[in-house]
């Protein structure tokens, strides 16, 4: 089984404050930490687990600058075999479609049975790359995948898609195919020290837009579905009544409110 995993380096904003920068079209990333998109981390694990069960090869691919090497090397350290990074100034400003076009151009040249990508990116939340990528490659797809069972290596798989309310839709899909992987599908491993050392020595093949045969209309804003005009803080409803003070005071105030409302 030849597998490809698409990974993206994203800022960790789940537990941090997010500030719009002076352009109004980006955020101030200076105080944010970065790492692999959480959903992609599950995609990497799924590919590596299948490789361990059935043998095969895992190619890690990412679109981004040199700083993405850190995310790629971590996937190699966990069990990835080869790596490709798509780097070009012309990729800047592209949305899910432009990213999918670049990934498709790179993957077309590879022998693959399954392509894995996170079903969603933590930053833009488009959830469109895996499905658009499949259409560009001309292969079947399924996204929000939370279970993968290989029925016949290289030929057929049974996958479970997570629907609303936790219901699972089970379907059979032919290979080659693209699967958008949902978080929680597996337990992503930590890389071993030995794996990290070995991954540090592996080569990451670089491909530019020209190497991929992409022209200007496929790239950046021109290759995108839409252009981001402006970020604004979200419109919030009536804000909560905020309880102020040291933990001792806020806890006492809240406990008193809950008691008064008959909730404790």
């Amino acid at each position: 089984m030849n597998m490809v995993v698409c990974v993206k380096r994203v800022p960790d904003t789940a537990d941090s404050e997010v500030h719009i920068d002076a352009s109004g079209k980006d955020i101030d990333k200076s105080r944010l930490s970065f790492g692999i998109n959480e959903y992609d981390n599950y995609a990497v694990e799924e590919a590596i687990q299948i490789k361990e069960r059935l043998e095969g090869n895992v190619t890690v691919i990412s679109l981004g600058g040199k700083e993405s090497d850190e995310v790629i090397r971590m996937a190699l350290a966990k069990g990835g075999d080869e790596a490709i990074r798509l780097e070009d100034d012309a990729f800047a400003g592209g949305d899910a479609l432009a990213v999918a076009k670049a990934l498709a151009a790179a993957i077309k040249g590879l022998e693959y049975d399954m392509v894995f990508a996170g079903s969603l990116a933590d930053d833009d939340g488009y959830a469109a790359v895996p499905v658009a990528l499949a259409e560009l490659l001309g292969v079947p797809h399924a996204t929000y995948v939370k279970k993968v069972e290989i029925l016949e290596p290289g030929k057929k798989a049974k996958v479970g898609r997570e629907l609303e309310g936790g219901l699972m839709e089970v379907l059979e899909i032919d290979m080659p195919c693209v699967l958008g992987i949902q978080s929680g599908i597996n337990e992503p491993r930590y890389a071993s020290f030995k794996g990290i050392k070995q991954a540090a020595k592996k080569e990451i093949a670089l491909k530019s837009a020209a190497d991929l045969g992409l022209d200007a209309s496929d790239l950046g804003e021109a290759g995108s579905w839409a252009v981001l005009e402006q970020f604004t803080p979200p419109v919030v409803g009536e804000m909560a009544e905020m309880l102020e003070g040291e933990p001792e005071e806020t806890a006492a105030k809240l406990a008193a409110i809950l008691k008064e409302k008959g909730l404790v």
């Binding site: 404050e17 309310g165 936790g166 839709e169 899909i173 905020m242 806020t250 006492a252």
Partner: protein
């Protein structure tokens, strides 16, 4: 203005709410609203849709009994080519997300997903969507095209009362044969656990802010002091710290307790959808801009590890008194 197609979403005998919401919202954009219904013997859904649409295109065929994005894509692509709508709306749901990007690529139509607000600039939609888990709104301009596709977040539009009586047009299935490369097999129900949180009166919801499973006793102690059950955000369940039957949100349960105390939960839409109907909502989070404070009744901005043990202590004191 060209027609607006709205894809009706249904599953196992229920038309999903987002369908009527989208028809209601589309009715305010201008243009003729066409409900597109693919299904097997779902005449009742066609009748329902007709109350909100100017026209219902109804394809009745066994191949549409259950959702299969490959078949939906073929059918929609053919219907769009035949009727030439200017905008296609579908839910930003497990169905819509599995379908819209492929359809957009096939038809070379610009797509914006997970839209939370939209208006029309002539024939062209101007959508708004969120970035960074709901921490920012992004205002977008779509590329000029003959057709635009948007997936709409649930509850973006408010469902009206039925006020139309659109013509139901039974349409021949444009898809001549089933596909072999993707086949629907079955639905599998979620696992049932020891506590049914949809029945709980008091819930303490735990989020990513708890950081590690070894910190769980901090919230467990609070829940015990309150006599509450523990619920969880997706991140906590994905990490395996609490079982999936405790998950609140779109892919988990919808709860309406008397009190929902959210601890270390930022309040992403996916979670909030499942708990916003709670009678009283309290949030403890260290990020003052966390969206959870926008729906909470009471909030504390602080380190949960400092506040939660104190709160457990105070509640024990009050209960003892």
């Amino acid at each position: 203005m060209k027609d607006i197609f709205v894809l009706m979403e249904h599953r196992r005998g229920d038309m999903r709410d987002v369908s009527v919401e989208m028809l209601s919202g589309a009715g305010k954009l201008g243009g003729t609203v066409v409900a597109v219904l693919l299904g097997k013997d779902v005449d009742a859904f066609a009748d329902k849709a007709a109350g909100f649409a100017d026209k219902v295109l109804y394809v009745n065929d066994a191949m549409f009994e259950n959702f299969n994005s490959a078949l939906y894509q073929k059918a929609l692509s053919a219907l769009i080519k035949e009727h030439g709508p200017g905008v296609v709306l579908m839910g930003n749901t497990a169905q819509g997300v599995d379908l819209a990007p492929a359809l957009a690529v096939e038809l070379e139509a610009p797509l914006v997903t997970d839209v939370t607000a939209m208006e029309m600039d002539g024939e062209k939609p101007k959508p708004t969507r969120t970035f960074y888990g709901g921490k920012l709104d992004a205002h977008l301009t779509m590329k000029d095209a003959d057709l635009y596709i948007l997936t709409i977040r649930e509850a973006t539009f408010v469902a009206d009362e039925p006020s139309k009586s659109g013509e139901i047009v039974k349409t021949d299935n444009p898809v001549s044969e089933d596909v072999a490369y993707r086949k629907f097999l079955e639905y599998v129900e979620p696992e049932i656990g020891d506590v049914d949180i949809t029945q709980s009166t008091l819930l303490v919801g735990v989020g990513r802010g708890i950081r590690e499973d070894k910190n769980l006793p901090v919230v467990e102690e609070l829940a015990q002091a309150m006599g509450a059950d523990l619920a969880a955000s997706r991140a906590v369940v994905d990490a395996g710290w609490l079982p999936s039957d405790r998950q609140v949100g779109i892919s988990g349960k919808t709860v309406k307790p008397k009190l929902y105390l959210a601890v270390g939960i930022s309040g992403a839409f996916q979670h909030v959808t499942g708990m916003k109907g709670s009678e009283v909502i309290v949030a403890i989070n260290k990020d003052p801009d966390a969206p959870i404070f926008g729906i909470a009744d009471y909030g504390i901005v602080d380190d949960l590890f400092k506040v939660v043990p104190k709160l457990a202590e105070k509640i024990k004191e009050l209960k003892g008194a």
